[in-house]
Symmetry: C2
Subunit: 147 residues, 2 copies
């Protein structure tokens, strides 16, 4: 098993960062414009991109603290993996500890996703700090997949 | 053991990407302005930042293909870890597969470093594609460490 990990610090309150991660509107403003579904425990979220997408089951929603999803549909390597967002306060920053856990193998696609998650975390930071994120399809491209 | 992995695609030749990764000048233009030492097999490179830095021993230099370093001094969690850069061609992109391998534990600092490596890989991409990277101290800040 292998995990992707990231950490960003956002000059914003835990409540506001949580709101961005725990609502369809917030996720659409930082990850992909095409976000559908219901962000409630047991609910499903559908994230769509030009090249496909991911269906996530919402497993946990702890206000201002933690969000946990499990991937139920999407690329084969993603199915069954879990994505967690932990929030904590440090001085005037909300720290986001991100994990995408449970990859069976550290395949090349995992390398791509690791870099891309960093880009989307920076989009989340930008959304909270400036009011404007960079969700797909206007996300920063990192390689020849155009994703 | 835990690894950090990333993948970027750069619209440039393998030779030019290799040159950026295998020379003191190239590294100073994408990672940190304060890069000293000799990039030759068995040589040492010193990377310095406001908050400290890393000393790397150059283990492998395969032109247009692969660079491998081992950390010999720096933060405790880094010592003994290895950093590899693999290059390959895909259409008009040079793909860089990056690994920072051998972390003893997936500590919070590893989360930070994972995000920060993504930022520096995007700086490498920018250096090759536009002629201008964003090395420290003008690097993009990701959290409350100001690193």
């Amino acid at each position: 098993m292998a995990d992707i990990m990231h950490r960003v610090g956002i000059k914003s309150s835990k409540d506001d960062v949580y709101k961005a991660l725990a609502t369809r509107e917030g996720l659409a403003a930082c990850w992909t414009n095409n976000t559908q579904g219901e962000s409630k425990v047991g609910g499903m979220l559908q994230f769509r991109f030009d090249a496909g997408g991911f269906d996530m089951k919402v497993l946990e929603l702890h206000p201002a603290k933690r969000v946990l999803w499990q991937v139920v549909d999407g690329p084969e390597e993603w199915i069954g993996t879990k994505i967690s967002w932990e929030l904590k306060q440090e001085s005037d920053y909300t720290i986001v500890l991100f994990k995408h856990q449970g990859w069976k193998e550290p395949v090349e696609f995992m390398h791509h996703c690791s870099t891309k998650w960093a880009i989307f975390l920076m989009s989340l930071k930008s959304l909270l700090e400036t009011g404007k994120g960079a969700p797909a399809p206007d996300d920063i491209k990192i390689d020849n997949t155009n994703q």
